[in-house]
Amino acid sequence: MLLEIRNLHVEVEGKEVLKGLNLNINPGETHAIMGPNGAGKTTLASTIMGNPKYMITDGDILFEGKSILEMTVDERAKFGIFQSFQYPEEIPGVKLRNFLKLAYDTVHPDKKLSVFDFGDLIVKQADKLKIDRSFLDRYINVGFSGGERKKSEILQLNVLNPKLAVLDETDSGLDIDALKIVSDGIKNFANPKVSVLIITHYQRILDHVKPDFVHVFMNGKIVKTGGMEIASELESNGYESLTV
Amino acid sequence: MTSVEYVTPTFYTPFDYTLKDALNLGNVEWRRPFIEKYMDTGFPKWKRLNLSEFFVKPLKPYKGEPFSGSVLYKKSVKSFNDDTFNDMMNRDFNGSHLKFTLMSKAFFNTGFFVEISGEGEFLAKYDLNENPTTVENSLVVVKKGAKATIVREVKGNGKLNVGTTLFLIEKGAKLEFFNILMAPSTPLMVDSNLYILKENADVEVYDIILGGEKVASHHRFELTEHGAKSRLTSAYFENGKERADLQYELIHEAPKTYGKIIGNGVINDESYMVFRGLTNIKREAFDANAEESGYTLVLSPNARADAIPSLRVRNHSVSAKHSASTGSLDDDKLYYMMSRGLSKRMAMQLIVEGMFNPIIDIIPVDDVKRDVKDELSSKI
């Protein structure tokens, strides 16, 4: 198993947000977690990544069978976990290209790519995602539109090539064309060795990516698990229909 | 860490106030401790206000009744023995300059001491025509959870106006203060204000300055406890050869304190305006938020505007900002209004009034509101 979350309880600023969440993900699987606003979706993504703002009060997260709770954020990234952010940060003065090279060299110390080979790699990915090449030489997310930021996140995903991609509301704020490009980017990443966890409010991205499992997430827990049919059900009946 | 601090040079004047003047005013025992210190202190040699000589004018007891409002004010000598009063009077506060705050304490001929619980309004209207030399010494205490509105208006043509007002705003209390100086031909006006804010206290100050010939004004906000919040909005209009040196100081001493200063004004003719914004964030002030901004509209090539901002920050979890700008009348705005049939003069007038209206509109006392409008249009 790639990711195993056991009875996870998490507090944010003294308030319990995750209340005993369980989730198993095998290599090659694509999972979707759907939930209403405020259900704790971002909390889940950030807890897997290890954001120190979120305090785990109980439970465990295992990655390839090992607990990662003691690992810092960068150690988890090196271990093969990737988080795509709903609101990616701006880092003035740091060019996307240089940053990605640095991250790539850190995450893949065994693969020694020259600056030129690396340049080829990111240009190829940028072209696939229809990202203007000039973006590579702009500062990280500075002056990027919402859609451009999301594309930049997917570009980073494909370049860094982790084992587990946790995509937090990657579809929000995208128009139809951009959504298609981003979805293709996710499909491009997916292969039998890696896993994807899509966290979303809406069904539309799932129509493109077609997850193997769909989980309904409410009040800090997964309340229902199934296939794509659940997503359609939620779309027509809303989350309210599930409240007991 | 030490740094070199600039000390304002001082000068003495041969016929300064003495104990004799205090005797005429009464309550000498209470004034006495300040008199000696006053006589030891020189007048500031202010470079930007061009103050290098000074002759005091005769002091007389204040004529007339300047106070009204829904709250009772205490002015009896007995109330001077009040602990809060004594504490506040002895607080380390130099205002625009120590000489003038001491003048207020030692030689005041008017002033008020109000304590507000619940809700209350208080109006002080000083008339310099009747009282050419007005020296005020005032204290406002807004009790826990209370809500106060204070209006101070200084009007007329006098010789000298020196005012010192101290405010203590207790836990959860709210203060709204309208401070209005409009005595255009008065040679010198010196205004010092200290606000001590306790936990979650909330202060909103509107500072309107339409002359004196020379105006020195100082507002100092001490945000001493968690969550204290202060905002000051100033509006000034200067013309002729008027000079004003306005100093606004935010001192953040506690976590999650908030301070905001917005200064807008217009200078014309040969007037000279100095806008000083001081923000001082102490080490203890985690997550403090401070913002100062100033805009001066310069209408004449001979007018001068200086901005002297200063940010001192000793805690790194804060947000501190300052901005200042000066500009001339926006040609596009003028053109737009003129294209609707207004004369250039009218258009200018509208733009200037536009800067004042948001403050004038909320002045809670109708005749004060009218006074300000009249004074402003006569200036334009």
């Binding site: 990234a77 | 310069v298 200086d306 900002k321």
Partner: protein, 457 residues
């Protein structure tokens, strides 16, 4: 020049130093330099001002600076250098970490002469002389081009400007002189480094640059590797004259060792349609006071000031810029950034003055300060004086910290906390650092990385 380069600093005689700077010492300095009368008189007049003037009433605390301590080093034959053994360990360590070659280490530590530079310099000299550019050390210029030097020397900054300008006028030695003739564009940046002929030079150096009409020059002073000297006062002066339509860029990277008081004066007079650009990076010294100044004298003149200041442990950096708009249609832009960390104190002090004669002026002043931790301090005092209504002036200042969410974002891509902080700080400095020549920028970045124990390249 070559004579000086073969000078290896042996003391021929020792004069017992008397307390206090005096006329006799100044005359002796001037005599030994074989200077013309006007220069000797300028030195003496400066001494007079120095003795009369009081210390500046603002800025860093210099009460512990004893100017008389430098007197022994002013003697013409004084041993200005110590030995390599006397150089503090931390400086040696920094050289090690920066990978500076042995020969250069000794120069930077003030214990060796820059012999190698002669070769490099000779090549550049040939190229320059074909263009008619004069580039030589200040002392030689006084003798070889007396009329030109006399016309400009301490005219932009007169000796009575302030106490340390006066001190400089009295005891200056070394420095560079550059004259770029009309319409000549100097193809490569000139570096003051070439003029560091002997150890201990560059403490009271005078740099005089004249860029004639329509000409163009980039001049670089200093180096980012730490510079150590037994003399704990650096009081240099830079005077620049940018004539009509000319363009001048002056870049400085200052990294004096932490025993140094760095009290510097830099001023440019900018004529009609000319451009002056100051790029200043200050990392070193115990205390610095430095405010490069542009006087925009001619219609349409432009100035741009870019400052980056790093105040680390035990440092008080009082830096800023001064711009005086004298003529109409002049414009200026200030981008000042500072970082304070480990208890350092960064103070930005600026003056923007628009005189009544200067209508249609445009100016923006932007100051940003980054506080890395709570032990540090950051102050910003940008003074603006506008005496004309047709001026468009904007100013913004902000002080803040590194956002936790930025660190988290970078760490989520596998970057360590130290590297993340270093990256953010480097990004903050980037717009200014990128103005520096590549090798300086690289060293600057390495220094930041060292502060955050980051291994970034």
């Amino acid at each position: 020049m070559s004579e000086k380069l073969s000078f290896d600093g042996k003391v021929n005689y020792v004069v017992k130093s008397k307390p206090g700077l005096d006329k006799k010492l100044i005359e002796e300095i001037s005599f030994n330099k074989d200077e013309p009368v006007w220069m000797r008189e300028l030195r003496l007049k400066s001494l007079d001002f120095f003795l009369k003037r009081s210390n500046p009433v603002f800025g860093v605390d210099i009460s512990k600076l004893d100017v008389n301590e430098i007197i022994p080093y002013l003697k013409p034959d004084a041993e200005k250098s110590g030995s390599w053994e006397e150089v503090p360990e931390n400086i040696k360590e920094t050289f090690e970490k920066l990978g500076i070659p042995d020969a250069e280490r000794k120069v930077l530590a003030g214990v060796g002469a820059q012999y190698d530079s002669e070769v490099v310099y000779q090549h550049i000299k040939d190229q320059l002389s074909r263009l008619g550019v004069i580039f030589l050390d200040m002392e030689s210029a006084v003798k070889e081009y007396p009329e030109l030097v006399k016309k400009y020397f301490m005219r932009a900054v007169p000796p009575n400007d302030h106490k340390f300008a006066a001190l400089h006028g009295a005891i200056w030695s070394g420095g560079s002189f550059v004259y770029v003739p009309k319409d000549v564009e100097v193809p490569m940046p000139l570096q003051a480094y070439f003029m560091m002929a002997s150890p201990g030079m560059g403490q009271f150096e005078h740099t005089l640059i004249i860029v004639d009409k329509g000409a163009k020059l980039h001049f670089i002073e200093g180096c980012s590797a730490p510079k150590y000297s037994v003399i704990n006062l650096h009081s240099g002066m830079v005077e620049i004259y940018v004539d009509e339509g000319a363009s001048m860029k002056y870049s400085t990277v200052q990294n004096w060792s932490k025993n140094t008081y760095n009290l510097n004066t830099k001023r440019a007079l900018v004529e009609k349609d000319a451009t002056m650009v100051w790029v200043s990076g200050s990392i070193g010294s115990a205390k610095t006071m430095l405010y490069p100044t542009s006087v925009l004298k001619g219609k349409g003149a432009r100035a741009e000031h870019m400052n980056i200041t790093y105040a680390g442990n035990d440092q008080h950096m009082d830096t800023g810029s001064k711009i005086i708009h004298v003529a109409p249609y002049t414009s200026s832009k200030v981008d000042a950034r500072s970082i304070s960390s480990d208890g350092g104190w960064a103070f930005y002090r600026g003056l923007l003055k628009v005189l009544p004669t200067a209508h249609h002026v445009k100016s923006t002043v932007e100051c940003s300060a980054l506080m890395v931790d709570d032990a540090s301090a950051s102050d910003t005092v940008p003074i603006i004086e506008v005496m004309n209504n047709e001026a468009d002036i904007g100013h913004e200042a902000r002080i803040g910290k590194i956002k936790e969410s930025q660190i988290y974002y970078l760490m989520s891509r596998g970057i360590s906390e130290g590297d993340a902080k270093a990256l953010i700080v480097r990004g903050f400095m980037e717009p200014i650092v990128k103005q520096l020549p590549l090798e300086y920028a690289i060293e600057f970045n390495r220094l930041v990385n060292m502060k955050f124990t980051s291994d970034l390249g």
